[in-house]
Amino acid sequence: MDNKRRKILKIAAATAAVSFTGLPIETFASYLPKIGKYVRSDKEKKAKQWGMVIDTRKFKTKEDFERVIKACHSIHNVPEDIPNKKQEIKWIWEEEFSHAFPDQENPFLAERYEHKDVIVLCNHCQHPPCVRVCPTKATFKREDGIVMMDFHRCIGCRYCMAACPYGSRSFNFRDPAPFVKHKNPKFPTRMRGVVEKCLFCYERLEEGKLPACVEASNGAIIFGDIFDPNSEISKVLRENYTIVRKPELGTGPCVFYII
């Protein structure tokens, strides 16, 4: 009798031990009636690491920037004109060359670069510090290299914002919905208290489309798998001299710039 009880206790302890080893919660959610199954989209574009080359020479007029920014912000319900400038939300925006590349600063920089604007966005780093610090895996790296956000899980600690050396992350200091003028019903908005950023249009890649900014750029932005030697982006990278932002930090940015 006693032996039996001891055995049961042992099994219980072992079960408890296993459940703390970090297996996904789904493994134990046996109460879920699993009646369907999950599959990937057959139209999805696949890659080992998505990357981007931004040809800054092709961004000439104010309009070139605005078109690209608007393409992104409008389909992703990014709020506009938040009254407090310090708390605004940005996924993709323009920044002066010397600010985007502070390590390239040089008092004798050619005039045409000094105040040149470049497009900046999340670099979808190969070794993203934001993912390293997130305490809930709310931001994580997908198999295709996209640094993804799970808005449902984010607790809003903003550790990722401290960790990102590119200032690519925005926090919803207030409910953004009133500042989204024309909601795209096919994409969610966000709630206050979570962090957001560019997601490389994962939702468009799933449908077999290119990211919105790439489509709107008229060829100024090239997108593709940087580890696929046959991709267009690999060819562009081979043939052009490109730079990345803050390479010395070891983050492995995947957004490259032709200057």
């Binding site: 999950y38 599959v39 990937r40 198999e143 799970d150 449902h152 019903p185 994409f187």
Partner: protein, 129 residues
Amino acid sequence: MYDKDKIIPGLIIFFFLITFPLWYNLGQAAYESPKPKLPVNVKKCIEDTEWMRANHMELLNEWRDMVVRHDMTHYVNSAGVNYEISLQKTCMKCHTSKKEFCDKCHVKVSVSPYCWDCHVAPEEVTNGQ
């Protein structure tokens, strides 16, 4: 008993407080099952209605994790039909009104899921206009 004058009133107040829901609801209309408006054109939901009624919350939770975290964009139901995983694009395609469908039960049983804090509900069409 020591402190009788404190303990007995204390017990009475305690008893009143824990039975408060009963007092409060006394004389109010009896509970009626909510009647959410079902889609007209479509006969079948992704799983059968009874199952959905009992399990939609777990299913949606699982959908959310699958699509956001595991890149599983489609759900094949028990009958083998393939659906895109999307609250806004799939569920609300048939259940066109949040007010007439979701809210009907949720309000009644006082649950407020935060889906709609972010997900965009379809625009409500008012009847006859």
